[in-house]
């Protein structure tokens, strides 16, 4: 058991003793509220923390849960066992409904859309008096009754709410198992590259949004049972601000942070009682101070993240033992066209290559080499043209689906999240591709065993490039697109990368190798292509392409 869990258990025990023997009925009410906010914050951590999207709808999901329970309970006498699941379901359904238009928005539009949604719901709650009771809300919400037992306010309700907190913590923990935290990190920190390794950002974000809504709905329902009244304040921006402050102060990621943040912020008014009406000013100051001085929350400040216990770095040496590749017929691209404004980055490119080919691509800057790589791997939607991979049309397939089908790539600038270890980065890609997480073979092949447990952010440039390549081959692609893999490397490192390419090709992988270094490319490429202004101006054996007059004019600036 690690330090964090031990402290959490001791703290939980102390809290229980306090609640059972020392807390006044008022203290018990505050503790009940804390529990409700823990659930709200646990949900918010998914979307704001893990998915990294500033949702301003968490208060709205809370309010929707509150009104579902409030209306059904007070008007129809519906019991907890029906209203509670329904409150969760309605909140999640609302999230699902708006997710399609909202989730693909960029940060500032996502924040606006979720805020507009919240304001809209508040407006409806205030003005639709016949159903919601208007500004006064609806009194007479029944207490929680399960199996004949009525939970009165005070200790019974307190213990029940915290039991649900326990379930919520287990649920959140279960949702984040199996490397999903790492997948979220990769999606958040390197959004461009994540899909190229099989991670589906849309699905992850949707999962986070639905979870945040479900937890929010549950919290809102419990809140209404505590207050016995549902009013527009449950939908107000105040709930959102409280939730945001708790999450930022406690920490965006940790389960313990959610508990600490909620406990702290619900008890703050007691401790700051002397401030009277300036109390909320103090909350603002606390929020600001937390962002500036404790960016990962106060829990991380007190208990810094310790590196995971190291696994033995090398399990077995299985050098060059290449797994059998999927039988494939390679890539066939026809008539690719792509313009950026007036610039024709791809202007009718035809290209096909198959297993065992190493196709080198050269061309002056701006010739369209990276756009070609992006087009083949689905990162750039084409204006015209068709890409077939292994007999299947992948022209408009999303990049994560292309990666899972066996076509992956590396990037000019290595796309690695600083905080994750090399092993985590590689194994997350393997999990995303439905493979067993086992980085050792790929690490062996690229000689990265010693770095397996090192955080990517601390690696020098040359090693970062190797990690990228390692990740790409770890998911056993049939075709690999390498965008300037040797740039900025020493001659020895370049030779190493080159040898790996030859080994991979010999085992049946098709490789598209973009680079500027002729001495690196020419000896290894089975074919050499030269691009200029979005067109392929030469395609053939390296010696033939290099002696082509058009190539010499375009690329070397020699008038032949």
């Amino acid at each position: 058991m690690n330090l964090r869990t031990t402290l959490a258990l001791i703290g939980g025990g102390a809290l229980l003793v306090y609640a059972l023997f020392f807390a006044s009925s008022y203290d018990q009410r505050i503790l009940t509220l804390s529990g409700i906010y823990v659930i709200l914050v646990l949900g918010y951590q998914f979307i704001f923390g893990h998915a990294g999207a500033l949702s301003l709808a968490q208060g709205a999901f809370f309010g929707i849960g509150a009104y579902t329970t409030g209306i059904l309970g007070s008007q129809y006498g519906t019991g907890f066992l029906i209203t509670f699941p329904l409150s969760i379901a309605v909140a999640a359904a609302l999230a699902a409904l708006v997710s399609l238009p909202v989730l693909r928005l960029k940060t500032h539009y996502f924040a606006l859309a979720t805020l507009a949604l919240s304001q809209l719901l508040l407006l409806i709650a205030v003005n639709w008096e016949a159903v919601t009771g208007g500004a006064n809300g609806l009194p007479g919400v029944p207490p929680i009754t399960i199996f004949g037992a009525t939970l009165t306010r005070g200790l019974p309700l307190l213990l029940f709410v915290w039991a649900i907190v326990g379930i919520a913590i287990l649920l959140a923990h279960w949702q984040l198992r199996g490397g999903r935290i790492a997948a979220f990190t990769i999606m958040r920190e390197t959004p461009l590259a994540a899909p190229a390794f099989g991670i589906d950002p849309g699905l992850l974000r949707l999962r986070a949004f639905l979870l945040s809504a479900a937890f929010g709905g549950a919290a809102g329902a419990l809140f209404v049972h505590t207050n016995r009244v549902v009013s527009p304040e449950t939908l107000g921006f105040g709930v959102m601000i409280t939730c945001l402050t708790m999450t930022v102060v406690g920490g965006r990621f940790g389960l313990l942070g959610a508990v600490i943040g909620a406990l702290l912020l619900t008890h703050l008014p007691e401790w700051f009682r002397g401030l009277d009406e300036y109390y909320l000013v103090a909350v603002g100051v606390l929020l600001l101070a937390a962002v500036v001085f404790a960016p990962n929350g106060i829990v991380a400040l007190v208990l810094p993240d310790h590196p995971q216990p190291k696994r033995s770095p090398v399990r077995a040496t299985r050098l060059t033992a290449t797994p059998a590749l999927v039988q494939n017929t390679g890539v066939d691209a026809r008539g690719l066209e792509k313009s950026y404004g007036g610039v024709r980055a791809l202007d009718g490119v035809d290209l096909s290559f198959g297993p065992g080919d190493i196709v080198g691509v050269i061309g002056p800057n701006g010739a369209g080499k990276t756009t070609l790589a992006n087009a083949l791997t689905g990162l750039t939607p084409l204006d015209r043209g068709r890409v077939t991979f292994n007999g299947r049309d992948i022209t408009s397939a999303p990049p994560h689906a292309i990666a899972r089908a066996g076509l992956t790539r590396t990037f000019q600038t290595p796309q690695l999240p600083d905080a994750l270890t090399v092993r985590q980065v590689i194994e997350t890609a393997q999990i995303a591709n439905g493979q067993a997480p086992d980085a050792d073979d790929a690490l062996n092949r690229l000689g990265l065993n010693a770095e397996a447990e090192t955080a990517c952010g601390t690696l020098p440039h040359g090693l970062r490039r190797r990690v990228e390549m390692c990740r790409a081959i770890a998911i056993h692609p049939a075709v690999l697109v390498l965008d300037e893999p040797a740039a900025g490397l020493s001659p020895e490192e370049q030779a190493g990368i080159g040898d790996i390419c030859k080994t991979l090709a010999a085992s049946g992988m098709g490789i598209l190798l973009i680079d500027h270094n002729i001495d690196f490319l020419a000896p290894r490429a089975t074919r050499l292509i030269c691009m200029e202004a979005g067109r392929i101006i030469a395609d053939g054996p390296p010696t033939q392409t290099l002696s082509n007059p058009a190539v010499r004019r375009a690329y070397f600036g020699v008038i032949a």
Binding site: G52, L54, V98, P101, V102, R104, L105, K106, T107, H108, Y109, A111, L112, A113, L115, A116, L117, Q119, L120, L123, I124, V126, N127, L192, A193, F237, I241, L244, T245, V248, D276, E277, Y278, Y279, L280, V281, V283, G284, V285, L287, L288, V291, V292, P295, T370, A373, N374, L379, F411, Q412, D483
Partner: protein, 294 residues
């Protein structure tokens, strides 16, 4: 004739909203981040006017427009504080961080005003007398005319500053590409802080203009930032002209729907409209410059 009055009221409201939206864009362009405390800038401007009116000797009936310099200075200082507290310490972190810090500063301002002035709506003195002028059979509100005149003057002044002065050229350079501007020797921090001061002063001026007719209370900031935000999405992210046009459009929509039906419906439909706009055009009405490269 009633139509002229309604149109003029909409124009006046739009002019005030335009000041808010322009101020929002000024900060946005300098920081590439959303200043969520901007609505509280408007509220602070309104309360600055309320406070100044109290300090001045009563009885002489001083017209509200004379309070403008005082309001501008007070809210410009507030803007510098927002920049220093909510932006400078975290300028190297992701823009979403600025969102959270400015929300925090917004809480501080709103609740500070609430504790000082109370939660009840307050009113600032009329800009230039009360009542209306009869013109071609239509009665035109003096307040509306004054709002349009003052907002027009401020916007014209800003346009001259941006187009005709060296400082304005530096502003525009920073808006296009902050890093490149810095590389060319422009003092980015200085321009950023001036943007906060100028942007918040514009918001404050709008507070003065709105606080007589519509009253002002400490909790109004949220709704005002939302409208500025929507104006900027409609008009094009980062565009000053677009923000002005977007603000006008919102005001016309609001006054129109409120006149025909009701105020809550106007507000509700505005939010529905925004969600629809973002649904159809996720990149905003006019898109944004793409700077991400693989």
């Amino acid at each position: 004739m009633i139509l002229i009055q309604i149109a003029l009221n909409a124009l006046a409201l739009g002019a005030a909203y335009a000041l808010v939206a322009i101020g929002f864009v000024l900060v946005l362009n300098a920081t590439t981040a959303v200043n969520f405390a901007h609505g509280e800038g408007v509220v602070a401007g309104g309360f600055a006017a309320v406070a100044l009116a109290v300090i001045l000797p009563p009885g002489i009936g001083i017209p509200g427009f004379l309070l403008l310099p005082g309001v501008l200075v007070a809210t410009a200082i507030l803007g510098l504080l927002i920049g220093a507290l909510a932006y400078l310490p975290i300028r190297n972190r992701p823009p979403v961080t600025v969102f959270v810090t400015t929300i925090a500063v917004g809480i501080i301002i709103a609740n500070g005003l609430n504790a000082t002035f109370g939660a009840a709506p307050r009113t600032a003195p009329p800009l230039i007398g009360v009542g209306s002028i009869e013109f071609l059979g239509a009665s035109i509100s003096r307040q509306s005319l004054a709002i349009i005149a003052i907002a027009g003057a401020l916007i014209t002044g800003l346009a001259l500053l941006l187009q005709r002065t060296q400082l304005g050229r530096q502003f525009r350079a920073c808006a296009q590409d902050p890093e490149m501007a810095r590389a060319l020797g422009i003092r980015l921090t200085r321009i950023t802080m001036i943007s906060f001061a100028l942007g918040t002063a514009f918001a404050g001026a709008a507070g003065l203009l709105l606080a007589h007719q519509f009253f002002i209370s400490p909790s109004d900031g949220g709704i005002l930032i939302l409208k500025a935000y929507i104006a900027v999405v409609i008009g094009g992210w980062g565009s000053l002209r677009g923000a002005t046009a977007g603000a006008m459009l919102i005001a016309i929509f609001e006054v129109g729907v409120a006149t025909l039906w009701s105020q809550p419906l106007a507000e509700g439909l505005l939010y529905v409209a925004v969600l629809l706009v973002l649904f159809v055009r996720p990149q905003g009405m006019f898109g944004e410059p793409q700077q991400v490269r693989a």
